[in-house]
Subunit: 194 residues, 2 copies
DNA sequence: TATTCGACCATAATACGTTTATGGTCTATT
DNA sequence: AATAGACCATAAACGTATTATGGTCGAATA
């Protein structure tokens, strides 16, 4: 049954996701995934052609989670200023939770996997597009003073990336949340007096 | 002669600097440094107690170069907006040239060296202070609209750090210079319409 | 006396051969 | 169609031997 296959695949993906999150791709064995799924290793290969294919499915699932969470949290916001504010905050907080996706974006150890470059490029482009769309909304609404929406999006994304390492490693949230708020204020209002 | 010792030390530091720049700390041997200095290895140990001490001297020299270049390029600028603009641009371009100093700040391979954490903390603090001073000048001159100069400095430094990797790795300068200019515009004027 | 040299040392790093683990395959079974 | 278990190729880990390297020390030299 095709439907049942999907169900089993999904279950394996979810189980593997937990193990990958805990041990990382490299240290996770197919035997572990099989046992946790209560199946033989060969049975796992019935549903997936390789360890990499499972990991790709996990990464794509996490990417989709981020995407839909961001969409959900911003869809009813009309004000582009507020929308961008929420986007940045949700993005930073959520990305820290999606360990496999973040590893796929950042980890040197995973660069040898075939789908990694593709997913890195894809995510970069999508993110810049989303931010550029919000900025374009702000331009159209006469609220943003920006020449080029895409260049602006690139600058915002760059600044956010600069905050990932201190945010995700240093768990003293109070200080980092201050940093995040401070950075958002900058991106919005700059430092030059109005 | 004390003076001659300093001269020889300086010469060894400069020679070592070139080799460290080329091969990195780890792959550079004391034998290489000795030969390039036209001395026996033991003679190097007459002037320096360890390989680490030489590397520290190299890193401190490069840090001092950055500091004095920044001071030189900003000291005659009265306008805090222009001063910060020049600071950011010179900082990014110069730091890329100081390979040993940058490695000391960023490389995981060097974290085991005793002086590394100290120099990282020191540089961070100094940089935030310099930027905060410029911001405070802007506040005093009524040109910057900022509540807290130090928090603002931290945000600016964070954004700059986000640009280091793409800037220093990707040598397609045209695109990255655009990014740098774009980021500076953001930091100054924000995106919200005035 | 200051400086240099060369032999030497401890051990970190590297090389190498052996063993084990792991991703994956294949056939038989249910 | 789905599963199990034996098996395979080779990557990874391991243990041992060898080499390289940072550093030391006493003697030699200027």
């Amino acid at each position: 049954m095709i439907a049942q296959n999907d169900e089993i695949r999904t279950r394996i993906i979810d189980i593997a996701r937990n193990i990958f999150t805990h041990f990382g791709f490299k240290k996770t064995t197919m035997e572990e995934i099989a046992q946790a799924s209560r199946k033989g290793k060969s049975s796992i290969y019935y549903y997936f052609s390789s360890k990499e294919e499972i990991f790709k499915a996990v990464v794509e699932k996490e990417a989709e989670e981020l995407k839909s969470e961001l969409a959900k949290r911003t869809e009813n916001i009309e004000d582009p200023i507020e929308k961008l504010n929420v986007y940045i905050k949700v993005r930073m907080r959520k990305l820290d939770k999606l360990k496999n996706f973040y590893a796929a974006l950042k980890s040197d150890y995973l660069s040898h996997l075939e789908f990694i470059e593709e997913i890195r490029n894809k995510y970069d482009k999508e993110e810049i597009k989303i931010v550029a769309d919000i900025i374009q909304q702000g331009i159209n609404a006469g609220k943003f003073n920006v020449d080029d929406a895409e260049l602006s999006a690139i600058a915002i994304v760059t600044a956010m990336k600069g905050l990932e390492v201190p945010l995700f490693l240093n768990k003293e949230h109070r200080n980092i949340e201050t940093r995040l708020t401070s950075l958002i204020n900058f991106l919005f209002y700059g430092i030059v007096k109005r």
